[in-house]
Each structure stands twice: as C-alpha cells, then as structure tokens.
C-alpha cells in the first residue's frame, strides 16, 4: 500500500484539465454538428410526403404513415454513417476533407490557393447557433469547399486558422486585429435603394395599376402588377434584406464584411485577391453623392453567388474611393490621368504605373479600375466600321466577374501606344515572387511598402512610351 505520490515528496497531482468547449482546431478531426442528421431526415421525409403523399392517400392514410416511417428510418440509416465518415481536418497547410458514403471522396486543398473565406448563417442555423464555412478557391464553380452545420465558434476559429495558414503563419495564431472602416446606416441603404430610376418607375406604375383596379374594379389590371412586384422583390427587397446591418472592417487578413437580416454572412477577402474593382454611380445616386463598389474575385464567378461581389452596397463616394485605395495599396485611383475620348461621349480611360482606369456611361456612370499587375490578357481590336474610321478598342481582360474594363474607339496609333504602355507597366508590376500566397510572410501589410524589384530580361532598353495626355 503506497502512500499517495505527493506524500512521498512528489509534486501534487494536477487536477484533470477541464475539457474545453472548443478544442484547438489546427489538430484533430472534425465533423459537422450532429444536428445535421435530424435536419436531413426531416427534409427528406417532408419532400417525400409532399410529393408522394397525395398519390398514396388514395390507398388509405395508413399507407402514407407506414411509408413515411420507412423513409425516416432509411434516411437515418444513410445520414448517420455519412455524418460519421464526413470528416475534415487541417494537416499542416492543407485542408483535408472526406465526404460521401457510396462515393467516398477525399480532397486535399492547399490553403495557399484560397481566394476568400465566408461564414454563412441561414435563419434556421442561427436558431441553433450553427454556421456554414465556405472556402472559395480559384477555379470557378465546383471548387468551393462547403462545410455545413458547424458550431458557430468552431466555424469562426476554423476561419481564423485557415486564413492564418493561407497567410503562412502557424494556425494557432490569434485572429488578426481589425479596424472599422464603414458601417452602413439603415436609412441610407433604404433611401439609396428607393432612389433609383427603375425602382421609382415601378412603384409609380404599381400605384397606377392599383388605383385603376380600385376605380374600375377590373381585376384583369392586377395581372400587370405581378411582374412589377416580382421585379421589386428581386431588386428592392432582395438587397434590402441582404445588406441590412452592413459593416465593413479592415484587417491584415484583408477586408471583412458582415451583413444580412435573415442570413448572416461574414465574408473575408484576403489582400491581393481582388482582381479588379468597379464603382457604379446610378443617375440619381450622383445627386446623393453615393456609389456602389463591386469587385472581381476569382472563385466568386458563376451565378451561385453572382451578387456577393458587392464590397460596398451603398457608400459615400469618398469612402468608396478610399476602399479602392486600401485594396490596391500605393496607388491613388482618383489621381490616374484620364484621357477623355472625343469620339464617344462620356468615355475616358487612362493608366498610370499601378492602375488602369476606364470610365463609361452617360446616365449610370461606371468607373472600372484594374491594377496593371492583375491584367490577364490585353486585346486590341478593330471591326470593319472601326477600321474605316481608323479607330481601335483596347480591352483589359480580368477573371470572370462584374468588371470589364476597356478603352473604346481610340485613334489607331494612340490606342497602340496605350497598349504598349500597359504592357510595359504590367511587366514592371508583375515582379516574380510577388504572388499573394502566404501574404503574411512578406511584409505587404498596410502602410508598409513592397520592395519593387524590376527583374529585367534580355532587353533593358525600354522605350518610356506613355499615352498622350
């Protein structure tokens, strides 16, 4: 019978460590929350009862009940092992995702390639305190990783760990601090969304139709109101519900956006992942001095999230441009010298050593901004009529997204000079090893300057061609 160890001069026994609520997410294997199983079972059963139920009621109500119970157990038998096998975990700077029961698949994703990370909370998941983590990779549709039904804390911590890994830091590093950038007042959102020509016209038409119905008691008039209502739902109520409570903040992880009334979202766009930006000013918004900022982010292409490309749904023009300057550091979008095109009304384009800027639109002014280091291809084109007039169009291609920057109908030789200047600036800006993978390992944070090395090739004698002012 030994005395307890501390009586023999040993250290006193440590109390067993309390199991933590949220374990360290950088190690170990994770699964979705078990609530996903009842969710799936209920969803499948409801669909079955709604589709097959009416047919079965002809045979009697007992049949419906028996088959519904069978479907419940069948889906449970599938959902339970699928939940158990569907696991994921971080392995160094790779995310390993196992999924599927009949078609087992395991994907290993290098996190240095990630383009954006979102935490999404639909209404039902908000009730249970769950969230979904979406990781966008470059490569269009189907390359997004969706981890559903995580506890909100786990999702948040995974987001931090994933971003830290992508930035080249150890995954246990705390969340990067953020500083507030812009909080959208609800009244401004409401006012700006109302104060648009199509919305106002739809409202007026709708009122006219309703009064016509009340005066003449002609129900056929209301047929015209349905498409108007649908349009208003899509373009007025949709953005209103989506961007309620909009809050943007900046951190060294990039831009963080939080918004949503029924579906809370938290988007993170890492630095340097924004390929191009456009500032849209509809006719009536110019009177208010507000604008919308949209961005092309690789991985956000496709209709699935066509409208999550808004970085700022409504913001004062000054705020919008200061965001553009934050996204493309060391450049000043408003200072780029623009060459106004006399052939085409209200179009202008210009470039300096960092940015290509083009402005178009007589009523709805669209300013498109592409950093020269992000240009994919450059095109000079001239159709048959343009050739007779001696005009060419310069196109700057970026990955799929809302931005399509171009300088239309330039004089031929001037257009070519413009293209050559763009090629030259792009060549200087695309310093090798200046990719944005593992951004934290290179000091490209706010306010710190990037060492611009120009890796000269064989030909050092470069003609300093700039477009005519």
């Amino acid at each position: 019978m030994l005395p307890p160890p501390h009586a023999r001069g040993g250290p006193p026994p440590m109390p067993p460590p309390r199991p933590q609520q949220v374990a360290d997410v950088t190690t170990g294997v994770f699964r979705a929350h078990w609530l996903i199983i009842p969710f799936q079972v209920i969803a499948v059963t409801l669909v079955f009862v709604a589709l097959v139920g009416p047919i079965l009621t002809q045979f009697g109500f007992a049949w419906v009940l028996v088959l519904a119970v069978a479907v419940v157990f069948g889906s449970l038998a599938y959902a339970l092992p699928a939940w158990w096998y569907g696991s994921f975990g971080l392995r160094e700077d790779h995310l390993v995702v196992h999924s599927g029961l009949l078609m087992r698949s395991s994907r290993e994703i290098p996190l240095s390639r990630l383009q954006a990370v979102d935490v999404v909370q639909p209404l039902l998941m908000q009730v249970f305190g769950l969230a979904e983590l979406r990781i966008e990779l470059a490569g269009g549709d189907g390359s997004a990783i969706r981890l559903r039904c995580l506890r909100r804390k786990v999702a948040e911590r995974l987001r931090v760990a994933v971003l830290a890994h992508a930035a080249g830091l150890p995954g246990r590093s705390p969340e990067a601090p953020e500083w507030p950038f812009y909080r959208l007042p609800f009244l401004l959102l409401l006012g700006a969304l109302t104060f648009r020509v199509p919305v106002l016209l739809s409202f007026i038409l709708l009122l006219l139709l309703v009064t016509a119905f009340l005066v003449f008691l002609e129900p056929g008039v209301l047929g015209g109101a349905v498409p108007l209502l649908l349009g208003l739902l899509r373009y007025y109520w949709g953005p209103l519900a989506r961007y309620t409570d909009f809050y943007a903040s900046l951190s060294s992880d990039g831009l963080r956006l939080r918004y949503g009334m029924f579906q809370r979202r938290m988007q993170t766009v890492p630095p340097g992942r924004v390929q191009a930006v456009r500032v849209v000013e509809p006719l009536l918004w110019r009177a208010l001095g507000v604008a919308r900022v949209e961005a092309t982010v690789a991985g956000y292409a496709g209709a699935r999230q066509g409208d999550s490309t808004d970085l700022l749904p409504v913001a004062p023009l000054g705020r919008a441009y200061s965001l553009v300057n934050e996204l493309f550091p060391e450049s000043e979008a408003a200072m780029v010298p623009l060459v106004v095109n006399r052939a085409l009304l209200s179009t202008a384009a210009g470039t300096d050593e960092r940015l290509f800027v083009s402005v178009r639109g007589l009523f709805c002014r669209v300013t498109e901004i592409v950093p020269v280091e992000r240009m994919q291809t450059l095109r000079l084109s001239a159709g048959p009529i343009a050739r007779i007039r001696g005009r060419v169009t310069v196109d700057v291609d970026t990955p799929p997204g809302p931005v399509a920057a171009r300088a239309p109908a330039r004089e031929a030789v001037q257009g070519r000079r413009f293209l050559d200047a763009l090629v030259e600036y792009g060549r200087r800006a695309r310093v090798p090893s200046a990719g944005t993978e593992r951004w934290a390992t290179r000091a490209t944070m706010h306010g710190e300057s990037v060492t611009k090395r120009y890796e000269g090739e064989e030909s050092e004698d470069l003609k300093g061609d700039t477009p005519e002012r």
Partner: protein, 163 residues
C-alpha cells in the same frame, strides 16, 4: 491602321504555313457541299428545279468566297514571342491583337483533330484565368507546335506570379 497592329519591337511576326488555309477550305467546302447537296435534293423532290439551280449557285458562290477568305485568314494570323509576353494577331473582319504575359498562362496544351493530323498541323491553346480572350495559335506544323508549347510552359513557370 497597320501601325496599330504592328509586331512588338523585339520580335517579328511568325507567319503560319498554308496548310491552315487548306484546312479551312476543306472544312467550309465540305459544309457547303452538304448544305447545297441536301437543299438541291429536297427542292428537286419538291418539284422546283429552278429553285434548286438557284440554291446550288448560291452555295457555289459562298464556297468560292470562303475559299478566298480562307487564304486571307491564314495570312492574317501571326504570333510573336516577345521577352515577357506572347503576341497574337488574327482576324479578317475584326482585326485583333492579343497580348498574353507568360506569367499569366495557366495551361498550355496542343490539340489536333483528325483533319489537322492528316495535314500535319496542330493547335496550341493557351489558357489564362480570364475566359474572354481566345488565345490560340492554330495551324502550326506539329513539331513546331510541340516546341512552342514546351517553350511557353517553361516560361510560364519561370515568370509565374500566382493569380
């Protein structure tokens, strides 16, 4: 106008062999023959010999026009490998000049369909993250195409700058 579509300062345009013109002539000729023959047969069954003759004439004119256009199209193609970008020019109706930086190339591959194989030519296709520009070098002799692909792939590695 030609100055605007001139070659870059450090590389002349590489033009393509006439096999490309013959490829297009064969394709368009076959298409015209199929449409014309089918139309004529239908119209004869319909009992309209006059219309059938008009139809055949129309298709013949189209084939001749396309025949000459194919030659112009082949002469309009050119590519130039500058120090850091690939330049392409093509187009008869809409003249184009495309500049693809080597560092932006994601995938470079060589394809050849049956007719191209018979003529001994191949297409080098360059893919970038932008899907708008059609960046291909068509109608190169197979050996040249493979060499060009290897050169471009090597340069896209050495100039790589991420996305």
């Amino acid at each position: 106008m030609d100055d605007a579509f001139a070659a870059p300062a450090d590389a002349p345009w590489q033009r393509l062999p006439t096999a490309l013109a013959w490829y297009r002539r064969l394709v368009t000729g076959a298409a015209c023959l199929a449409v014309g023959g089918g139309g004529v047969l239908l119209l004869l069954l319909w009992g309209q010999p006059l219309l059938a003759g008009v139809w055949a004439g129309l298709l013949l004119v189209t084939a001749v026009v396309l025949w000459f256009l194919a030659g112009r199209f082949q002469r309009s193609w050119g590519y130039a490998e500058a120090s850091a970008e690939l330049y392409l020019t093509y187009g008869v109706l809409v003249r184009q000049l495309v500049v693809v930086p080597y560092g932006r190339m994601q995938v470079v591959d060589v394809t050849a369909d049956l007719l191209e194989q018979a003529l001994g030519i191949a297409t080098v296709r360059v893919r970038t993250a932008a899907s708008t520009a059609d960046t291909r070098v068509v109608g190169l002799p197979l050996a040249d195409a493979v060499q060009l692909r290897d050169r471009l792939a090597a340069r896209s590695e050495s100039f790589s700058t991420g996305l």
